[in-house]
């Protein structure tokens, strides 16, 4: 079983990112369980989303406290909260950032990767310049780095599940996949 935690801010599409990832994984016959933080969301406030992935039915309905990997949709959260809380040793931290992984100065026990999802989202005109929607680009990078699904499954999930600009979103996911 793989457990992943997403960190974002309300309004960035973090929960949708976990849903698209769940869709893509399920297309390949695996089991998934994705859920948002149990609570109320506020625009701009830190939000979480979680996903469990397994090749057999998932019975555990409790929350995820010790994720295998962490995805950071909004890099400003690194200063604001402890995004490594409970993260297992050797786990990946995938950050939406223009920086190089080593510049982020996380402890050596974690594997750090970065993807400039904001740049990709802006390029494909997703959201606005001030508030680009980066979730599809993030998912493209995540499936490649963590080897969770084929890009074709992601593209299919994006086309089916994203109500706005499905083609541009798919292109963003593909570009992030190729750059990761």
């Amino acid at each position: 079983m793989i457990e992943i935690r997403f960190h974002g801010r309300g309004g960035q599409g973090t929960v949708v990112a976990s849903k698209i990832l769940a869709d893509a994984i399920s297309k390949e016959g695996n089991y998934v369980q994705a859920y948002p933080e149990f609570g109320v969301e506020r625009r701009g406030a830190p939000v979480f989303a979680f996903i469990r992935i397994d090749n057999k039915p998932i019975y555990d309905k409790s929350r995820i406290y010790n994720p295998d990997h962490v995805i950071v949709v909004d890099p400003t959260l690194i200063e604001a909260i402890d995004i490594t809380e409970g993260l297992k040793e050797g786990g990946h931290i995938i950050v939406n950032s223009e920086k190089k992984p080593e510049e982020l100065k996380f402890p050596k026990k974690f594997k750090v990767a970065t993807i400039n999802a904001t740049e990709i989202a802006v390029k494909h005109k997703l959201g606005t310049l001030a508030a680009p929607i980066v979730n599809t680009a993030i998912v493209g990078a995540v499936v490649k780095i963590l080897k969770l699904a084929k890009i074709e499954s992601v593209l299919e999930a994006v086309q089916e599940g994203v109500p706005v600009k499905p083609k541009d979103n798919a292109a963003a996911a593909k570009e992030a996949y190729e750059k990761s």
Binding site: V32, Y35, D60, S62
Partner: protein
């Protein structure tokens, strides 16, 4: 077709595939998404149903009662305060023998205001004469709505399909959405013997003197007593057609278990994980998840726990001044049949506090250490 859907939408798909004809609801978090999707389905004709907006949950149930009396298959959904506002009309539904099917998302009762899960909203409706199913996965939610229409319409008793807030309502899981034709073959249209239409006028719910009232209630109970066998029968039929059995309970490794956890809802799903892990540690644990709370499967429970040395009932609810409500039922099932079996009553997770596999290990270790329960209620995870 396999789809990744949230529990709220599993209810919507169940109502759609069950071909509900009238849906009436008042939005309350988190069920809003249930009727949001249903209203879209009604608007784009995916579902040929009348969607009635109302001004309160009380009216939502009233609209369902009227539609059901006119012979329509009716569905609604609610949660916590909304369900309790309906309370009066829940009696009308069962007393009037109207087979309404309702989804309820278990949410703790205010105050303090809560949007998190516990079972006090639905369990405090236990004496209203409704069948109650507690589900543990989105698949089970969808399947159970379809089965509930069948059971309810056969017995003319309404059904409540219950799921936990957040851990099912907002959780996405892979769900096999059955084909409409197959569901149609399983669930024939609702054809009540008596219905009220302009051409067939009848009176409903009139003054009932002591000469008749008693018998109406006797008949309601007698029909409720037929529900366990009917749930098993329709659950097996469902398995034949769709590959998934829908029974009164779901047991995991109870045959040779020394200690059996008795659970419900998603808590009963996590308990299965704990039982599996406990077995790897050499403790013979089992999990008996109770799905039908009303009618309570007394005989089934008695048979399954026969060989156990200890029972630990885990309640995410409380009857104040009394115990956890599943604990009460289990003790009542065993009384006079298996009086020497120690039954421990635990209360955990009120207001959405998490219940994890470790919670069950703590519970199991407690019960294994004691010869018999020393406290009426054993509180787990409470800060004091």
């Amino acid at each position: 077709m396999k789809k990744v859907i949230m529990g709220n939408h599993a209810l919507s798909y169940g109502a759609m595939l069950g071909r509900a004809q009238v849906i009436s609801a008042y939005p309350i978090t988190p069920q809003t998404q249930v009727v949001e999707l249903l209203s879209e389905m009604c608007a784009d004709k995916t579902l040929d149903a009348k969607f009635i907006k109302v001004e309160s949950e009380h009216s939502a149930m009233a609209a369902c009662l009227g539609a059901s009396l006119a012979g329509a298959r009716t569905f609604t959904a609610t949660s916590s305060q909304g369900l309790t506002l309906m309370h009066e009309l829940l009696h009308w539904a069962s007393g009037g023998r109207l087979p309404v099917v309702m989804g309820n998302i278990n949410r703790a009762m205010a105050p303090g205001w809560s949007i998190w899960s516990d079972q006090n909203d639905s369990l405090s409706q236990r004496d209203t004469g409704w069948i109650q199913f507690y589900c543990c996965s989105n698949q089970e939610v969808l399947d159970t709505v379809i089965q509930a229409f069948k059971v309810s319409e056969k017995l003319l008793i309404p059904s409540m399909v219950v799921l936990d807030a957040f851990s099912l309502s907002h959780t996405y899981e892979v769900v096999d959405v059955p084909e409409q034709e197959k569901v149609d073959a399983y669930l024939p249209p609702f054809k009540p013997q008596i219905k009220i239409t302009p051409d067939e006028p009848h009176a409903f719910g009139g003054l009932t003197s002591p000469e008749h009232y008693f018998e109406l209630r006797y008949k309601l109970q007698k029909d409720m007593e037929k529900a366990p066998a009917l749930i098993e029968e329709t659950g097996k039929e469902y398995e034949k057609m769709f590959g998934r059995y829908l029974g009164l309970v779901d047991e995991y490794c109870c045959d040779d278990a020394d200690i059996i956890l008795i659970t419900s809802g998603t808590v009963g799903s996590t308990a299965r994980v704990a039982a599996e892990e406990l077995r790897q540690e050499g403790i013979r644990a089992g999990n008996l998840r109770i799905k039908a709370f009303r009618p309570f499967p007394f005989e089934t429970v008695r048979n399954i726990v026969k060989g156990a040395e200890k029972i630990a009932v885990v309640d995410r609810n409380i009857s104040y001044g009394h115990h956890g409500m599943f604990y009460e039922e289990v003790k009542s099932a065993l009384y006079g049949h298996n009086d020497s079996l120690p039954v421990f009553g635990f209360i955990a997770g009120l207001g959405g506090r998490d219940i994890t596999p470790s919670t069950f290990k703590e519970i199991t270790n407690y019960a294994l250490k004691k010869k018999k329960p020393e406290e009426e209620i054993i509180w787990i995870g409470v800060k004091r």
